[in-house]
Amino acid sequence: MNALRRDASVALAVARKDAIAELRGRHATVSTLFFAGIVLLLFGFALGPDADRLAAAAPGLLWLAVVFAGILAVSRLHLLETDDGALEHLALYPVSRQAIYAGKAIGGFAVMLLIAVLVLVAVGILFAVDVLGAWPALLATAVLGAAGVAAVGTFYAGITVRLRAREVMLPLLMLPVLAPLLLGAVKATAAALAGDPFGELGAWLQLLVAFDVIMIVAGAATYGYLLEDG
């Protein structure tokens, strides 16, 4: 019990530290959001001005933009740890590795959720989709999707942050792993927007829950090896 409380305070301290740094001028969220916005705009150009086609493609565009932005966001969050050997020091504290993972993932989750919600609003405006009508299901999808991207992104960023070729390796390793999340989130969003005519929304949300749980467990179990690195 005591150990659990200590782990919780460690995780919160890590997340809080990331949040402070973010608010004080790292501005990873702002630049990432801007990036997501540009991606949406370019999708619009790529698909042409046909409003029906854009509305049909909206769920896919939404989540592609979120996932692409997520790669940037998690890599920015880990870049903070390259401040003057911070990652090495983080590994030297006598705390459970799972707590450090949880702390980094919480920070990632907060950023990802913000991005997902704002991109959702932007999609509603740009592609004329009724986002407000189905907001509870969409919010649930956003929460689960953000959690999945953060869970996976945290340890892939942890692996690649020490590599020379990190800009290439992060998306290369992360995107295939995120494929089921992308699928589930897009399907859930589409079902929610259409008013769930086939009653499949629950199943897709379950898939997202399963993805999140498996990735969080796997990430927590392996993050320690990654911190020690070798």
């Binding site: 200590r6 305070s9 460690v10 301290a13 809080r16 530290k17 402070i20 740094a21 004080r24 001028g25 790292r26 903070l80 401040d83 003057d84 050997g85 911070a86 090495e88 020091h89 983080l90 590994a91 030297l92 504290y93 006598p94 705390v95 020690e228 690195d229 070798g230």
Partner: protein, 257 residues
């Protein structure tokens, strides 16, 4: 020697002669990208002693300290800290070791106080707020406590990193070039810290070029060159010359021969 005013948290360490060696290495070697930074170091450092680690750049001082701190693993050989084996008890070793490295590990966007408060949570310091305030005062950074570390000079960063060590109660303190980048007052601070740790029986291992300055403060010295111990002097440190190749054991199983 003047009575030091720095607060060093004591740790029950046991009688000096009953303690296991603070550091015991056997045929310790580490390669980076195929070239050896340490080529086989076998030595013991007695608990409660303050030992200098001397030698030119690239002699392996930093590598040795990083291995003992658990930051990196050895390629060959083994290490024990206070009788705890590096491969099996790394977590327990981390509880006992404090490490001042070249890289301070401080966050630029956090203030000095926030950096120490974060470290206090991670170390598990009781009465964190007052201990942080005390540590800031002890390293002479009270006036700049609320400023972002990104605005600090290299010397101030080093002071803050020293303050972080004061938050824990280590049994072994590893210092990598503590005098580097410090002004005269800062160097005196390091001297005082060394005296304070020595007083409570904490083992100290200092890698430094400042031989003359350290001499009166320490019990003994180890001289490294090209990854090997070439000279040992003083109390509390023993060294065995490298054994024949057959005695060099990879740190992991299954390294092909």
């Amino acid at each position: 020697m003047p009575q030091t005013t720095i607060y060093v948290s004591p740790r029950s360490l046991g009688a000096p002669d009953r303690r296991p060696p603070a550091v015991a290495t056997a045929e310790l070697a580490r390669l980076f990208a195929g070239s050896p930074a340490l080529a086989g170091v076998t030595m013991t450092i007695q608990g409660g002693r303050a030992i200098a680690l001397l030698g030119p750049n690239g002699a392996g001082k930093t590598t040795l300290l990083r291995i003992v701190s658990t930051a990196i693993r050895p390629s060959y050989g083994s290490v024990e800290v206070d009788g705890l084996h590096l491969n099996r008890d790394a977590a327990a070793i981390r509880e006992r070791v404090a490490y001042l490295s070249h890289a301070t590990g401080l966050y630029d966007d956090l203030s000095a106080r926030e950096n120490l408060a974060f470290a206090a949570t991670m170390i598990g310091t009781p009465d964190a707020a007052s201990r942080v305030a005390r540590a800031l005062a002890d390293v002479g950074l009270e006036a700049r406590a609320e400023d972002r570390v990104g605005t600090f000079s290299a010397g101030m960063r080093k002071r803050l990193a020293l303050g972080r060590i004061l938050l824990g109660s280590p049994s072994l303190v590893l210092l990598d070039e503590p005098y580097a980048a410090l002004d005269v007052d800062g160097m005196t601070l390091v001297d005082d810290l060394l005296a304070a740790w020595r007083e409570v029986g904490v083992t100290v291992l200092v890698a430094s070029h400042a031989v003359g300055r350290l001499e009166p403060l320490l019990d003994g010295r180890v001289v490294l060159e090209r990854g090997l111990v070439v000279d040992v002097h003083g109390e509390g440190v023993k060294h065995v010359p490298p054994a024949p190749p057959a005695a060099v054991r990879p740190a992991v199983a299954g390294a092909a021969r």
